[in-house]
């Protein structure tokens, strides 16, 4: 048996629907059609009345989820592309994220954001939104990089009593495979030391973890041992694991597919600089997408986001510092 990252997301939703009558799925084309990416394929048939097509109304979709959560349901909202979540921005950051703080009532809902670039996606089907949602208090923001994490973290997202922004990477949907679904899982909020090393800490999350691993492999042949940390969740951010890694390596490169201004890589570097400045043997570095909208053409797209090649160049540079 071989499962893709997308299969894992579908199976996690099937399990959530099967084990908890409070769960329902709402989103555009998620019903009989099975979703634009087939992340809900077959679920409407298996769980009649609980996988509902929504009108093209992201604001109302998330507002509805908040109302259902107030009444004790556990909605899963599929936004067709993460980019369109801007239409629901108000309901996410002002309604869902503030409810518990204001009223002491939990707001358990999961918003699935198919995010990240695929070649040909262009400016409005390629965005990664984790940084902007992580900025707001009251939200949990998850960025699974593996098939196993996609499965277990989505189930944990549904079980959590808070609004969860679940950033699933479109590039990983079909490219990533695993033999079986995990029997147990690391909890949300813990980063994973994916590959040990002693010369440099390479922090990544979501699809960039795989680019980072490729770089670690490549640089190993040049004699450099690179430690790769997969953040898994960007909010909460597991600072301890990152700082502990930097304590071992003395060097930090943080890679993200989102834009450079503010954001996850800036936050990681800020925390390491303030909490572990003395551990650093070189200035902490980061690599992000270029500060332009995501381009359409494959040549431009490949140059816009960090790749194994650009990360390797940044890593070599840092090792020389």
């Amino acid at each position: 048996m071989s499962l893709t990252y997308l299969d894992a997301i579908r199976e996690a939703q099937a399990r959530a629907l099967a084990q908890d009558p409070r769960v329902f799925i709402y989103g555009q084309d998620v019903g009989a059609f099975g979703g634009a990416f087939k992340a809900t394929k077959g679920l409407a048939q298996r769980f009649p009345g609980r996988v509902l097509d929504a009108p093209i109304s992201e604001d109302a979709m998330v507002g509805l989820a908040v109302g259902a959560a107030i009444e004790g349901m556990r909605p899963i909202i599929e936004i067709q592309f993460a980019d369109f979540s801007t239409v629901a921005f108000n309901q996410i950051v002002n309604q869902a994220a503030t409810l518990h703080w204001r009223t002491n009532l939990p707001c358990p809902l999961t918003i699935r954001l198919p995010c990240g670039g695929t070649s040909g996606g262009g400016p409005f089907h390629s965005q990664t939104m984790e940084s902007i949602y992580a900025h707001y208090p009251g939200l949990v923001v998850l960025t699974p990089a593996t098939v196993e994490d996609a499965y277990s973290m989505l189930l944990e997202a549904v079980a959590l009593d808070d609004p969860v922004i679940f950033c699933e990477h479109k590039y990983l949907y079909y490219h990533l495979k695993a033999e079986r679904l995990p029997a147990e899982a690391m909890p949300v909020g813990k980063a994973r030391l994916t590959r040990p090393g002693r010369d440099m800490t390479l922090v990544a999350y979501s699809a960039m973890v795989h680019e980072a691993l490729a770089v670690a492999e490549e640089l190993a042949s040049e004699g450099a041992e690179i430690e790769v940390v997969d953040l898994r969740s960007v909010k909460p951010l597991d600072t301890d694991t990152v700082v502990a890694s930097v304590a071992r390596t003395g060097r930090l490169l943080c890679v993200g597919e989102a834009w450079p201004w503010g954001g996850v890589t800036a936050e990681v570097i800020a925390r390491v600089a303030s909490e572990g400045f003395g551990l650093l043997d070189a200035p902490p570095q980061r690599l992000n997408a270029k500060d332009t909208p995501a381009p359409y053409h494959p040549n431009l797209w490949a140059a816009h986001r960090p790749t194994a090649r650009s990360i390797a160049a940044a890593a070599r540079n840092l090792l020389r510092m």
Binding site: F24, R50, A54, P55, S57, E58, D59, A60, M61, V62, G63, L64, A65, V66, G67, A68, I70, E71, G72, M73, P75, V87, N90, Q91, N94, Q95, T98, L99, H100, W101, R102, T103, N104, L105, P106, C107, P108, P137, G138, V140, L160, D161, D162, G189, K235, P236, L237, D238, T239, D240, V243, A244, A247, R271, S274, E275, G276, F277, G278, L279
Partner: protein, 360 residues
């Protein structure tokens, strides 16, 4: 708990017109006196932030609150003091939220009209207009999932709110799902200072109902009897499975947007027109006309309302303010994640010291 005092559902017995009208009038009166008290406290500098009154909209608002019963969902807006009281919100909730008491439903974390008990069906509004309607839809969909039949959700909105995308998305959503949503639209002719002609270009806001494929009805928002009848019918129709209902009330806001606003922009011709009538006076005249009350009863009711308001304010003014040092500065319900959210002060230095020691 304060919310155990909830007793929505008083309106079922519209059987007796006299009882319903009297009860509604007394709630309107209480709301007006409470609003006036807030205005006075505002001018005395006793209220943090703004004060937003329902003056001129009490008849419509009370009709909305009275038409609902236990198990229903109510999303009031800024001019719904009367409707809130009618739905069963304790008067202390309003006073505590305006004065920022730690004992109020929002515990000083949110203020003025931003209050409620969501689990009890009273949704605490956010400021973004139209945003509460889809939340009501979600609660109603949850009722459907849970097999709760016969409940209704009612959302209040003004003329300005109909221009938002959230309004459009949510009404369409309710129509697609055939939810028992009642949208009560108060066209008070000004969104803050913006008049109708700069807000919409359709002949009448009720035209929008047809566009969404839902039922709609108009009512004179200054006439309590008419409001009780029309809003009551809309709620009954939604409850009976008739799908979303829109009620458009025509009236005039008889105050500023907030107490900071002297409303100098309101057209004097509108004030002098029938829509400029004070609904509280109209309701009072109706009571006297039908011999349902006399002057001494009116005076007694007023006195009782004043006492209720003064007692509530006196009580809340002695209550503690929220203490920032004992505040749980944590926005997440998942405590185990919240602690990881915020880097603990000093922890970094400790880690660094330990690790530096080990690496020597």
């Amino acid at each position: 708990m304060v919310h155990s005092a909830f007793s929505p559902g008083t309106a079922r017995a519209i059987g007796s017109c006299q009882d319903a009208h009297t009860r509604a009038y007394r709630l309107m009166l209480l709301a007006r006196i409470l609003d006036d008290k807030f205005a006075s406290l505002y001018r005395m500098g006793k209220i943090h932030g703004g004060v937003f009154l329902g003056r001129g909209q009490e008849a419509l608002s009370v009709a909305a609150g009275l038409a609902l019963r236990k198990g229903d969902v109510f999303a009031p807006l800024i001019r719904d003091q009367a409707g809130r009281l009618a739905f069963g919100e304790p008067i202390l909730d309003a006073v505590r939220t305006y004065l920022g008491s730690a004992l109020g439903p929002m515990r000083g974390r949110d203020g003025n009209v931003h209050r409620g008990w969501p689990r009890e069906g009273l949704l605490p509004m956010i400021s973004h207009l139209g945003a509460m309607i889809s939340v009501v839809n979600g609660a109603l969909l949850a009722h459907r999932f849970k097999g709760l039949a016969g409940t209704v959700g009612l959302a209040s909105l003004g003329d300005g709110g109909t221009s938002t995308g959230a309004f459009h998305e949510a009404i369409n959503q309710a129509a697609v799902e055939k939810l028992p949503l009642v949208l009560v639209l108060a066209n008070n002719h000004y969104a803050y200072s913006t008049p109708n002609e700069r807000q919409f270009a359709c002949r009448c806001l009720l035209d929008k109902a047809a566009g969404y494929g839902i039922s709609g009805e108009t009512v004179d928002g200054t006439d309590l009897s008419a409001c009780l009848t029309v809003v009551g019918q809309a709620v009954n129709q939604a409850r009976a499975g008739g799908g979303p209902q829109m009620v458009l009330a025509t009236l005039l806001r008889l105050c500023g947007h907030g107490e900071h606003d002297d409303a100098g922009y309101v057209d004097p011709a509108l004030k002098a027109s029938p829509i400029g009538r004070d609904c509280l006076k109209v309701a009072e005249e109706q009571l006297l006309e039908k011999n349902w009350a006399d002057a001494s009863m009116l005076a007694a009711w007023r006195l009782e309302a004043v006492r209720t308001v003064e007692d509530a304010v006196a009580k809340v003014q002695r209550e503690p303010a929220p203490d920032p040092y004992r505040q749980d500065w944590c926005a997440l319900a998942s405590r185990h994640l919240a602690e990881a959210c915020e880097p603990a002060e000093g922890a970094g230095r400790e880690i660094k010291a330990n690790l530096s020691e080990r690496l020597k």
